[in-house]
């Protein structure tokens, strides 16, 4: 009897756990049923999938308060607390995940490149393989709309803004001196090698409150978060040598990249228009150290470069050439930490130090200057949910500039300044739905040198109108302290200001992207002065004004033609400004009204080669002809440059690269330099400013030696 009793008891325990029915319906935000959602009670085996009407029903032995989990691809997983006893015929709504590929993104003003970008217009490899870019990040960006090709300068000019209106950031921290040193009419290059960066974001306006001290544009470069493998890269080029190496151990990795560039042999073979005593040479090195913690990542980036050249510079005002002998040393250090803590908090902190030293001999006069600049930053970000994120933080910029001018057997003039800028910013990212997102922010900054405080609001929103198309709008107020040339003589100035209004349409589908953007930019408080060139006794003021408006169009297609990728950029700009020593509001000389770039890359499998063609065209640029009464009335002829590149994959690890710029040999004219005073016939003479050479040839051999290959070779032995 006892046994039977015990046995019965078992049965009751095992089967008699009163079974409860849980049922309901799974719906989306529009109350349409979701078919095939996975529904279960957390921690049990009890669950089912929803049927074609979104209904579900299952039995469970669980009791009391439980967590009901409902998951479905591309939707946010719902965890609903329920009481099993009363959970019948309940309806549950799933929200579409805003982390999916087809969610709306704020795109106004911004071009993203790299692996984290969802709609990537440029890939890191594009920098290297775009014909004519010659491995220069800035040159590759000049194939995007909104930029100007200013061949005699080489820097980034964005939407009617001067080159120094663009700030460069590495891992969120400012780089005070992003370009190599140069002299008049010899183009410079960006200091950064594209190989150490995994992604970049280039904004032509309307950017986040996180970034300040930039009137026109920001270029954000991100170093690689992790080294993928140990390897060594060797490059042999007609213009120099390069060596790079990456090591990994434990949670650490270290990459370095060094280059020695010497243009002397090249210029022996291909004579230049410029008269060099000692062609450009430079020794540069960059390194990145990374250490990953369980919840964070520390990065240290350091770059050093020493360059020098000696040139006899022509000027219409001097019968003799002016000798410019320049030595530049530049050091840049950037360290940052990014980590997660607590519940959905993210911390970012970083600091940079940059030191630049120039020694310039101008005939017998000597100029020596040095700039110390630092940037400290702290940013916190809290994700309240996938849909609401708030970030806030502070910036501190320190700049100390000193210059000494020593005239031959004459006096010494000193100038310089110390500026500290403290800023706070905050920004909220809100997704109202998968289709509608808003970003609101503000930045307040105080400059102790200029004794001014400014508040800059920023706002952007994006709305998805169809499966593949969306509109974005951005507004922002931007300020920037006047440039070094002005501040060293005048600390009584105010910051220059600009307002941006941008409307963007983007359509992106299956490896094809179309974007069109119209913008209006209103400049105020631009610096003016009353002398031929800036000097210690110039009278400076902030009465300058200006505007820029235009249309930028971009089309990239990696699909239509097999093995061919191409993109087309077109920009139209109408801009005028009255700044510097201008006598009227006119279009400045670095602006061409129409620019068109076509870049294409064709992979030919049979030849294991990638052939690339880039054509850049822009209409003529204004120049001032003192022989005419109207200021800035001249126009140069149009500019055209057709470049070709050919990369041949000898093996996976050996690449031979050949490129030539301006294949057609177009005689491009950048502008004219006029004499300060008329000749005996009362005419101002002029000198044509042309590229230092019409064409540039480049041959390089790139060899990667990696662990994996080594292992294979070992196996072969």
């Amino acid at each position: 009897m006892k046994t039977i009793y015990t046995f019965l008891f078992f049965l009751v325990v095992l089967t008699g756990n009163a079974q409860q029915i849980v049922s309901g319906t799974v719906l989306d935000e529009k109350s349409k049923p979701i078919v095939g959602a996975n529904i279960f009670i957390d921690g049990t085996y009890d669950g089912t999938s929803s049927d074609e009407n979104g209904n579900f029903k299952f039995t469970t032995t669980a009791k009391g308060n439980q967590i009901l989990v409902i998951s479905f691809l591309t939707y946010e997983t719902l965890k609903a607390p329920i009481d099993v006893a009363t959970c019948q015929d309940k309806s549950f709504k799933l929200k579409e995940s805003v982390n999916t590929l087809d969610a709306v993104i704020v795109t106004a003003g911004t071009f993203d490149a790299g692996d984290k970008a969802r709609v990537s217009v440029l890939k890191p490899l594009d920098i290297v393989t775009t014909a004519g870019a010659m491995g220069d990040i800035v040159s590759a960006l000049q194939t995007l709309p909104g930029t100007q090709t200013v061949g005699e300068d080489g820097r980034l000019f964005v939407r009617g803004g001067e080159a120094d209106e663009t700030q460069t950031f590495v891992d969120g921290i400012r780089v005070a001196q992003p370009y190599g040193a140069t002299t008049a009419n010899v183009p410079t290059r960006g200091r950064f090698s594209p190989f150490l960066f995994s992604g970049m974001s280039f904004s032509t306006g309307g950017y986040s409150a996180e970034y300040g001290e930039a009137l026109s544009s920001v270029l954000l470069l991100n170093t690689q978060d992790e080294a993928v493998e140990e390897k060594t890269d060797i490059s042999l080029m007609t213009v120099g040598l390069g060596l790079a190496n990456t090591q990994k151990w434990g949670n650490n990795s270290l990459s370095f990249n060094s280059a020695y560039i010497n243009l002397a042999p090249y210029q022996k073979v291909f004579p230049q228009r410029a008269d060099w005593n000692k062609p450009f040479q430079s020794l540069s090195g960059e390194s990145v150290y990374r250490h990953s913690f369980t919840n964070g990542l520390f990065k240290l980036y350091a770059a050093f470069d020493a360059s020098q050249f000696d040139i006899n510079s022509e000027s219409i005002n001097n019968p003799d050439k002016i000798r410019v002998d320049l030595d530049n040393n530049n050091f840049y250090l950037n360290s940052s930490y990014k980590g997660n803590f607590g519940s959905q908090w993210q911390l970012f902190t970083g600091l940079s130090y940059g030191y630049s030293q120039n020694k310039i001999g101008i005939d017998s006069d000597n100029v020596a200057n040095s700039e110390h600049s630092s940037h400290l930053k702290l940013k916190l970000k809290k994700s309240f949910s996938d849909r609401v994120k708030l970030s806030f933080g502070g910036d501190y910029f320190i700049t100390k500039f000193d210059e000494e001018f020593k005239a031959y057997e004459g006096n010494t003039f000193n100038s310089g300044y110390d500026a500290n800028i403290a800023a706070f910013f905050t920004e909220a990212d809100i997704f109202f739905s998968k289709k509608f997102a808003v970003k609101l922010g503000a930045r307040i900054s105080n400059n102790d040198l200029l004794q001014e405080t400014v508040i800059a609001p920023r706002a952007s929103l994006a709305y998805k109108i169809s499966k593949n198309g969306q509109f974005s709008f951005a507004y922002g107020s931007f300020t920037q302290a006047p440039r070094q040339d002005y501040l060293k003589y005048a600390d009584y100035l105010d910051s220059e200001k600009a307002q941006h209004y941008i409307l963007n349409y983007q359509y992106s589908k299956d490896r094809r992207t179309f974007r069109a953007e119209v913008y209006f930019k209103d400049y105020s408080d631009l610096v003016k002065y009353d002398t031929e060139a800036t000097q210690f006794n110039s009278d400076f003021n902030n009465s300058g004004t200006g505007y820029a408006r235009g249309l930028d169009v971009f089309w990239r297609d990696n699909k239509t033609i097999k093995n061919v990728e191409y993109w087309i950029s077109y920009s139209y700009i109408d801009t005028q400004r009255n700044y510097k020593n201008f006598t009227a509001e006119v279009t400045p000389s670095f602006v061409a009204n129409h620019s068109l770039s076509v870049v294409s890359k064709w992979w030919i499998n049979k030849l294991k080669s990638q052939v690339s063609i880039t054509n850049s065209f822009s209409t003529g640029r204004p120049f001032n002809n003192p022989n005419e009464t109207q200021f800035m009335n001249g126009r140069t002829k149009g500019y055209n440059n057709l470049s070709l590149g050919w990369a041949y994959l000898m093996t996976q690890q050996k690449i031979l690269y050949f490129s030539v710029s301006n294949v057609l040999g177009t005689a491009n004219v950048f502008g004219y330099e006029y004499a300060n005073s008329p000749n005996t016939d009362g005419v101002y003479n002029r000198r044509t400013i042309r590229p230092t050479a019409d064409q540039f040839f480049f041959v390089g051999f790139f060899w990667t030696i990696s662990e994996n290959k080594k292992e294979n070779q070992l196996d072969n032995l």
Binding site: L14, N38, Y45, V69, T74, K123, V228, E229, L649, Q652
Partner: protein, 206 residues
């Protein structure tokens, strides 16, 4: 005494029934997958993983099923979502069982699917990672047939670009076949796939 026996018996019974429930669930899910009902199989595995928080296997199968689905041309539009699901499950499994060669193979397969999805963008980024994972896995488990085969199979896929020695890769695939035959999974639910794929690949070698 009876009480004690009853309690013990109860305890054993509940243990047994839990065991059975796991086996039943795994068996049913793998059965569903065999019938081509990938989503239902994945859903069931997901439910098992929610109940068996210390067992890496259900998460492993969520990753395996969704990655396998991602390779199918019919699912092209869903690839990103499938791989995200696979990656989340993979992360959960790795938390439970670190340094597991089967999970390294799984991670390598997810990366391979990403490469296949967009070779131009992901090829350069993930190929070295895949190779690193296989190399690591081979140090831990040189006799694991999936490690040996998947590594050779991956290199074979890239051979037309890398110029890798196809003959040598075929030899590696051939060497995996006796390993498959010798392989004894810990339980019937531990990974034991790959022999057919290896034989298929070997056929292509000839």
């Amino acid at each position: 005494m009876t009480k004690i026996i009853t309690t013990i018996a109860l305890f054993v019974c509940s243990l047994l029934s839990a065991q059975t429930q796991f086996e039943q669930g795994m068996g049913r899910s793998l059965g569903l997958w065999g019938e081509g009902k990938a989503q239902e199989a994945s859903d069931l595995m997901e439910r098992i993983s929610a109940a068996e928080k210390t067992n890496w296997l259900p998460n492993y199968y969520v990753a395996l099923i969704n990655t396998t689905e991602a390779f199918k041309p019919a699912n092209k539009a869903k690839v990103a979502a499938l791989l995200e699901k696979a990656q989340n499950a993979q992360d959960a499994a790795t938390m439970i069982s670190p340094n597991n060669p089967e999970l390294m193979v799984m991670q390598a397969m997810i990366y391979t699917a990403m490469i296949v999805q967009d070779p131009m963008v992901n090829g350069m980024k993930y190929s070295p990672k895949v190779m690193e994972l296989y190399t690591k896995a081979r140090i831990i488990a040189p006799e694991n047939p999936r490690v040996v085969f998947s590594k050779a199979d991956f290199e074979m896929g890239g051979a037309q670009w890398t110029g890798a020695d196809v003959k040598k890769l075929c030899e590696e695939i051939a060497s995996s076949i006796p390993l498959f035959e010798r392989f004894k999974p810990e339980t019937p639910f531990h990974p034991n796939w790959g022999l057919e794929r290896a034989q298929q690949s070997l056929k292509n070698c000839k």
